[in-house]
Symmetry: C2
Subunit: 357 residues, 2 copies
């Protein structure tokens, strides 16, 4: 799947934590993003607001985006996600505008573009495509542990919470491993990862009986010819809303090793409504993930081998302090791969591979 | 939902472990089951083959079932389930026969009757209904811990494996509590439980992002006016194929207490393909479930309070030995609710409720 030139819709939401799909498209597909829409930040650049993306312009409307976009855009990407994955009603007119302008629409929400009869009819008339990225394949199996058969070393990113940088840690580790000459592949499991990589299955949209089977399949596909497969984790064992997806991923990918992602600056579980819960420390989370792996594959002795922090919201010295402290307490390599590089993660993977040989 | 008079199709599969839906309909809806179809056991009674169900006849074909059924049957219930939940191709002609005979068809498999265009068309012509029990509601939310708000005491059955008697333990505990005058309600989460109880959501057919939300909803509904809600568990944390469903149930139901179900006579994980895995001991499973509950709701201090064994395949003295030994090792009340009564389970629930007050 080749990505088109996008205009990315992030109205009212542009930010590292609030528009994951928009941010990851800017970070990993910068040359495919012609403009971002968010009237709150109109007139600024992606770099100024997100710290990444260089001169990609932020504009106030689709009309404006169409005027400034260079090269000519081919698709509108819905770059926001809300809990439950419905399409915000205020975006609907923008989708119609995009169709009129001859753009395809790409959307990774649970709610399907194709289920909007009027939009689908108009898209058909205009000859543009509605691409629902969160539509899983229809023929998924129940997981049976086939991932154990991959020749490559399986590494899953796991988290203390949702939205702490699991996809980014996987992609940055892939980059660092590739730079070392290791054949590292990425297995995308969520809408953003799938957009960035052009392949994958959105496991959180899969019927729950088939989550581990879906994960198994993408792990096997990505593993072909690879030395290392970096499987994108989802959710968190500690997040009551999404823990089912997380455990299905663990037991489908059956990783040889895990990288724990966390956000030192966050203290409450993401996306509200869980007042009684605190985010676990990295040490506590490591305990939980290693225990959950023992349930399904005790023989792997699968361990967390490194910590990946997301510190975008912290001053640099504070970020360094958190990262060093967590590394000291857990005895593991510790970094923020975006801010301080993914080398420690790549080195940890290489060391774990050597130890497993 | 009022259950019709059923003919239950269990061709080639009739048995305690191989046809859960058939067995539970016989056990809990005996007066709604007119006949069972399995040519291997034709001529015998349900009691003779399953140890339950009295004189319900087992016959070799639908034609024969229609002849012997008394009272007149109203629906054919597909009483077998295979991994992946597809409708076995050899059953398809029987489904058409049933439609011709004017019977509704009830089916709880993942594959939908309604998706078979020919069958659906013929059902329409004949004026009979195709009832797909595994169709979850369309408007499910992400879980947000609302189950914590129930006035009633929440008890979830959990298991060392799939298909070890979680539904039965829940229903038998409800019966024993009801006999004591406790307002106990059942929350069905799987096809068999939904058929037996006439309500519920098949959580394993729910998109994985919404498993805990679905569980939350049925827990809240069942809890209305109840002293105790017995939520039917699914799968097992130790089963790589289904653990996602299990954890979603734990974090949606957020039980005050758990009953651990196990099958002393079984040593390998159910439904094959997991050669590297052994079924955990009850003590090991208790550790895992209590840990998984601490992730989502540490303040509940949710504990396994009793053991429910399924010993149908063991001699009575052997069964008693396993049950007593497990009770001794774990320090918990221990029984086989079908064979030796559910009183110990009901008493454990009552004691836990008193302790929580």
């Amino acid at each position: 799947m080749k990505q088109p030139i996008f205009i990315v819709l992030a109205e009212g939401k542009l930010g590292i934590e609030t528009s994951k799909t928009a941010v990851s498209s800017v970070r990993y597909l910068a040359d495919r993003v012609a403009a971002l829409i968010d009237s709150e930040h109109s007139g600024r650049t992606a770099q100024e607001v997100l710290g990444v993306g260089g001169g990609i312009p932020i504009v106030a409307s689709l009309a404006q985006a169409l005027r400034v976009s260079e090269p000519a855009p081919q698709a509108l990407l819905v770059g926001v996600a809300n809990r439950g994955g419905t399409i915000p009603p205020e975006h609907r007119p923008v989708l119609f505008e995009a169709v009129e302008a001859g753009l395809d629409i790409w959307c990774g929400l649970h709610e399907r573009l194709a289920d909007d009869g009027q939009l689908a009819a108009r898209a058909l008339e205009r000859g543009v495509r509605l691409v629902d990225l969160r539509e899983p394949p229809a023929d998924l199996p129940v997981g049976t542990g086939l991932a154990l058969q991959t020749a490559g070393f399986r590494v899953l990113t796991v988290g203390t919470d949702c939205n702490v940088g699991k996809m980014t840690a996987s992609l940055e580790t892939r980059r660092a491993l590739t730079e070392r000459g290791v054949k590292a592949r990425f297995a995308g499991t969520g809408q953003s990862g799938i957009i960035v990589d052009g392949a994958g299955i959105p496991v959180d949209a899969v019927v729950s009986d088939f989550v581990s089977g879906a994960t198994e399949r993408i792990t096997l596909e990505a593993a072909e010819g690879a030395d290392v497969v970096l499987v994108e984790g989802q959710g968190s064992l500690f997040h009551p809303g999404y823990s089912a997806v997380t455990l299905g991923l663990l037991h489908g990918a059956l990783p040889n090793a895990m990288i724990l992602c966390w956000m030192p600056g966050r203290t409450r579980i993401y996306a509200g409504g869980y007042d009684w819960l605190e985010i676990p420390s990295p040490a506590r989370a490591i305990e939980a993930y290693e225990e959950a792996m023992r349930w399904a594959a005790p023989q792997l002795d699968s361990r967390v081998i490194a910590l990946s922090a997301n510190t975008y919201d912290l001053a640099e010295d504070e970020a360094r302090r958190f990262i060093e402290e967590a590394g000291r307490v857990t005895g593991l390599p510790s970094t923020d791969p975006v801010r301080f590089g993914a080398e420690p993660l790549a080195e940890a993977v290489e060391e774990a591979r050597r130890a497993a040989d």
